[in-house]
Subunit: 326 residues, 2 copies
Amino acid sequence: MANIKEIARISGVSVTTVSRVLNNHPYVSDDKRNAVLNTIEQLNYRRNMNAVHLITGRTKSVAVIMPLIRIYYFSIIMEGLAQEALLAQYRLVLCQTNYRPEEELKVLEMLRNKEIDGVVIVSTSLKPEVIEEYTAYGPIVTCQNSGESRFSSVYIEHYAAFRHGLQYLADKGYRSIGYCDGRKHGSSSSIRQSAFRDFHRESGLPLHEEWMIFDCLNEEHGAALLHRLSAMEERPEAIIVAGDHVAAALMIEAGKQGIRIPEDLAVIGFDNQPIGKLLGLTTIDNKLFEMGAAAFQTIHEQIHGDGGSQPVHRKLDYELIERSSV
Amino acid sequence: MANIKEIARISGVSVTTVSRVLNNHPYVSDDKRNAVLNTIEQLNYRRNMNAVHLITGRTKSVAVIMPLIRIYYFSIIMEGLAQEALLAQYRLVLCQTNYRPEEELKVLEMLRNKEIDGVVIVSTSLKPEVIEEYTAYGPIVTCQNSGESRFSSVYIEHYAAFRHGLQYLADKGYRSIGYCDGRKHGSSSSIRQSAFRDFHRESGLPLHEEWMIFDCLNEEHGAALLHRLSAMEERPEAIIVAGDHVAAALMIEAGKQGIRIPEDLAVIGFDNQPIGKLLGLTTIDNKLFEMGAAAFQTIHEQIHGDGGSQPVHRKLDYELIERSSV
């Protein structure tokens, strides 16, 4: 701050005027602006942006809470966020938390400490009540359906999308359907489990508990999944897999074992990943890039909005993409 | 700052003392520290971290210049960076630049403006001379071999790694070898082109210009590559492909077309991606996660080091992983 004072003294203006010039504030006379700019040029002064942030109360930074970057689902949302941030000239502070609540809380504390202007939560292990406490300090947007919460959300309806996939399989004549997901206790996967059980109860199709398989996060798990299905006495005719990369690995392993897709096993994936397209995988496109872009647009509007801190809930459409694996 | 002044007034201490307490500075008497802490508790004052940054001159943030997140190569480096940043309690400011030099310069300006403590450049379109100008303002680490430059680097030797792959193919008896890469004019791909030409000149094997294929960045390009090779009058017996996801797509398309790997076409990839492992793709593991981790460790040492700003150049080892595609 000493530097700003010095510039003010040499320019013969107030400190307030200097900070207005630094921030392109309109209410500064041309004479004063020129005096300040000349002094700055003489002193070759570079502004310390921390002083600017302190004065403006804005950092033009948004933090992103994300468990793991290398998961396709997360990396594509991140790319959508990053594209919009670049357009808006905002910076993203990436907080890879591995679902550790203490790390996620630290990011929310950054909002309280005014280090960032808002937080986008791509996926979290925190309860909504905990997140709500921080809405007093600035806007928060999640990429999960947060219902009636006091923070905003941009989401697809996992329940409807998942039931759509199940109904599609039933309409194609499959009577026994399995299901594979990542974390068993995640908020999206809990919703998918409900959809799976509700669908079976309402359709009257048989539900085998062993056909619900969890902890399938990567390609190795996808290959192991095929072997697990093969070893079952009674295996499902079709399977719906949350994550095209897992479904793709299952398909590749099936090819090695002489199991035909879809004749011996029909497969629907999630995410519309490039590898799935190559393999002819039917999938549910949950518009990840669009979700990231919409999440940034929403937080940006909330930061700049003068309509107070009313939460916004934006539902995005999913799309079933038919290929040859069903 | 008004808040800090107020706390100082109520506590009966100087502003300096308040800021020392906020920053856990040792030279504060217990009496004064307690007085300040009591006042803060009474006022429920949360420190504005921008004030703390201004006072300490540290932001505990490092910016990362990265063209695109969704490319496997970049996302794994990012994950290595993020893991180490989490351990060191640093934040990463992600700057997805799409190789736009004006955006890359803005990130370097953040270093000059003291908004961040250092910059990691994963890949850039800026010339080394331009980057060197910014070393006066703080540490910079690149993930490319920067030779004798004034900024640091953590890298694998793409030239040696690529020649190793070519020699491996020659040793297996392949006499005609093709090459596929992403950007033609990138710094790493320029090095690989040199390696490809030098290898052919020194080994005496025939080099066909049409066997050097560029702009293969994604899975679709990989599938198209197979068709391009199939359409050649004289096609190579083997191909080395920068990017396992492109090589994997080529292999999957070959399977559809009845082209046998390696009997009709041998393939070596780069990056050791999970999809390549599933397909039995022989690859050169360029240790991307380790590179990201080492890049963060290096910038962290440079931020906290008292040995001045001497650049460090760390070479990491690559590894040829033999599977069944050669």
